[in-house]
């Protein structure tokens, strides 16, 4: 499969995908292996270097690594191996931390998370290094199962593509947060299906881009059954000549009555040369639903900047505070304090570099 064996930008779902960026990342020369850092949490710690498990540096606990059925998605089908987390009913797992280190060129890895009824899990993933890191994750949540997943992209160069296929059973809950705060391009490609009644899905995060990078999310939430709730809260911050794109769709099937869907897409341009694209999309076939959506793009509030400066805060710091406040509500959804603090620190470090 060649790198460019991907759909073209003429296809609507791939309109803002940076295919050239993926090709360039896959052609990156080898770089030294960067340090992998795990958060101070109990539970499994997996280190993958270019998609290969580093046994010595990993503690698997309940996670296994082996063959995985590749899907048919243009990104997802590239991974034939991966890691699996399977929980029995009512099991509560310690957090699973995964660090993906890339040292140039391309690497592909799959993952399967299968949570039995009423089980609870937390997954934290991080990407460092350089190259094209491509991930395909399939999630199946049983009745009342709860998964929270937080992913941060802090590669120094290259591209990270994520393909997530998430199916929620009755009254299951999924809270996913993605932070792109590195100097890599990104595509967050996800399909969530609320396949049981009363499911709850939150999927959102923040894309921070600068230079000439392109980052995007293309997320589709499908309400197939009644009484479901979904929230998509995305923030995009673009500096320099970069481009950040948010495409979020909600689909409500004919009998998925009493669905409550929310979309909040907001973009912030730090420079007039940057681009933010927003595309909220609603396809509603049921008649008794609530779907709130908002999409705005703007610059930092000049009045607020002057107000802060007049109190003694230097201009660069005032810009950083306002920008951080802009992305904060997307990251506040991370429930675990240690994880939330680490993500906030990544965002702050990005602002420090970009402003």
């Amino acid at each position: 499969m060649s790198v460019l064996d991907l759909p073209s930008n003429r296809e609507e779902a791939w309109r803002w995908a940076d295919l050239g960026g993926i090709a360039a990342a896959a052609a990156l020369a080898p770089v030294a292996r960067s340090e992998a850092q795990f958060l101070d949490l109990p539970g499994a710690k997996l280190l993958f270097v270019d998609g290969e498990l580093d046994q010595g540096a990993s503690e698997l606990h309940r996670v296994s690594v082996g063959a995985i059925a590749p899907g048919d998605h243009p990104l997802g089908r590239r991974a034939a191996r991966g890691w699996t987390l399977r929980l029995d009913a009512r099991a509560v797992a310690d957090p699973v931390q995964i660090v993906h280190v890339a040292t140039g060129a391309e690497n592909h890895l799959g993952a399967a998370i299968e949570l039995g009824d009423d089980s609870v899990a937390q997954v934290i993933e991080g990407f460092v290094g350089a190259g094209w890191s491509n991930r395909s994750t399939s999630v199946r949540l049983g009745r009342g199962a709860r998964l929270s997943r937080a992913v941060r992209l802090t590669q120094a160069a290259g591209f990270v593509s994520l393909r997530d296929e998430i199916v929620l059973g009755e009254a299951a809950s999924f809270v996913g947060t993605v932070l792109a705060a590195g100097d890599q391009g990104a595509r967050v490609d996800a399909a969530l299906t609320l396949a049981g009644e009363g499911g709850y899905a939150e999927f959102g995060g923040a894309l921070l881009t600068r230079d000439r990078l392109k980052q995007e999310c293309a997320v589709r939430v499908r309400h197939a059954e009644p009484n479901g709730q979904s929230h998509q809260l995305w923030r995009a911050v673009a500096a320099g000549q970069s481009q950040a794109s948010l495409a979020a769709a909600v689909e409500v099937a004919r009998h998925a009555q009493k669905t409550d869907g929310e979309q909040s897409l907001r973009g912030l341009l730090l420079d007039r040369t940057a681009t933010v694209n927003l595309k909220p999309e609603l396809e509603i076939f049921a008649d008794d639903v609530k779907c709130a959506h908002g999409a705005t793009v703007g610059e930092l509030d000049a009045r607020a900047l002057f107000y802060m400066q007049s109190r003694g805060i230097p201009a660069a710091r005032a810009r950083a505070l306002l920008t951080h406040a802009f992305v904060a509500d997307a990251l506040d959804r991370i429930a675990d304090e240690t994880v939330r603090a680490a993500f906030a620190a990544d965002a702050a470090a990005w602002l420090e570099r970009a402003l």
Binding site: M308, Q309, S310, R311, G312, I313, P314, H324, A325, F326
Partner: protein, 249 residues
């Protein structure tokens, strides 16, 4: 001792002249009131002194404590001791009052070569000021001015002034939007924080009523971009009785 000297100040916005040769001197220990009709340039004077982008000085000079004020960035003016109280305090979602004020105070202290205040030290100061101005403690934790009423925003300006403890305050229509009780609280706050031999205030106001609580040493009438008349506190009463058209002409 002279604190602020404004000499022949000309300023424009988008090429439109607003200040047209304004001259004014404020000594330490004094409170000056600037009064005048709408559109005279009162707020522009405040913004020019604060350094707001878009307000271009085309002629004249402003000296503060012997230094060229116009040469400084807005945050450097604050560190030098200048506080600008806003007519319309800005809402900043996502930044708490506490964080905003601690950042402000410590940024100023850094410029002056002073040690930053710790979180606990800062909270002590902030709570005392909030109490003195009747601002509920929980409003310190809320985002800056978000969801505050007009009166609460103005009290919050005074709390900020109390915490920052500036040498010189320019208060732009701090009395607008206040009911009688709030007016008294804010007036008392200005007296308590700023009525000192080593401090001074420029009180920009449209009405005389705040001057019942904060008695000015000097009153100036600003009309069409310059000071047309100056006098003692009694000038404010005369303006109230006879109107700007009569007195300022």
């Amino acid at each position: 001792m002279t604190m602020l000297t404004i000499d022949n100040l000309h300023a424009e916005i988008d090429g439109k002249p607003i200040l047209k040769g304004l001259t004014l001197q404020v000594n330490a220990g004094e409170i000056h009131a600037i009064m005048g009709p709408n559109g005279a340039g009162k707020s522009t004077l405040g913004y020019v002194l604060g350094g707001r982008p878009g307000y271009e000085v085309t002629e004249g000079s402003v000296t503060f404590d012997g230094e060229d004020l116009l040469d400084k960035e807005p945050h450097e003016r604050a560190a030098a001791g200048v506080f600008l109280g806003f007519q319309y305090p800005v809402e900043i979602p996502g930044v708490s009052n506490v964080q905003f004020l601690r950042e402000s105070l410590n940024a100023q202290r850094a410029v002056r070569g002073e040690k930053p205040l710790s979180g606990a030290e800062f909270l002590k100061v902030a709570r005392a000021q909030a109490d003195a101005l009747g601002l509920q403690q929980d409003m310190l934790k809320r985002p800056v001015n978000v969801g505050f009423s007009g009166g609460e925003k103005k009290r919050n300006e005074m709390v900020q002034m109390g915490i920052i403890d500036p040498k010189f305050a320019i208060l732009d229509e701090t009395d607008s939007g206040l009911d009688i009780d709030a007016l008294r609280v804010v007036g008392d706050g200005i007296n308590r924080i700023m009525r000192r031999p080593d401090k001074a205030v420029l009180l920009i106001t449209h009405y005389q009523r705040l001057l019942d609580y904060v008695r000015p040493d000097r009153v100036h009438v600003l009309a069409d971009g310059r000071i047309t008349r100056s006098g003692g506190a009694e000038l404010a009463h005369q303006l109230e009785r006879e109107g700007y058209a009569e007195v300022a002409a």
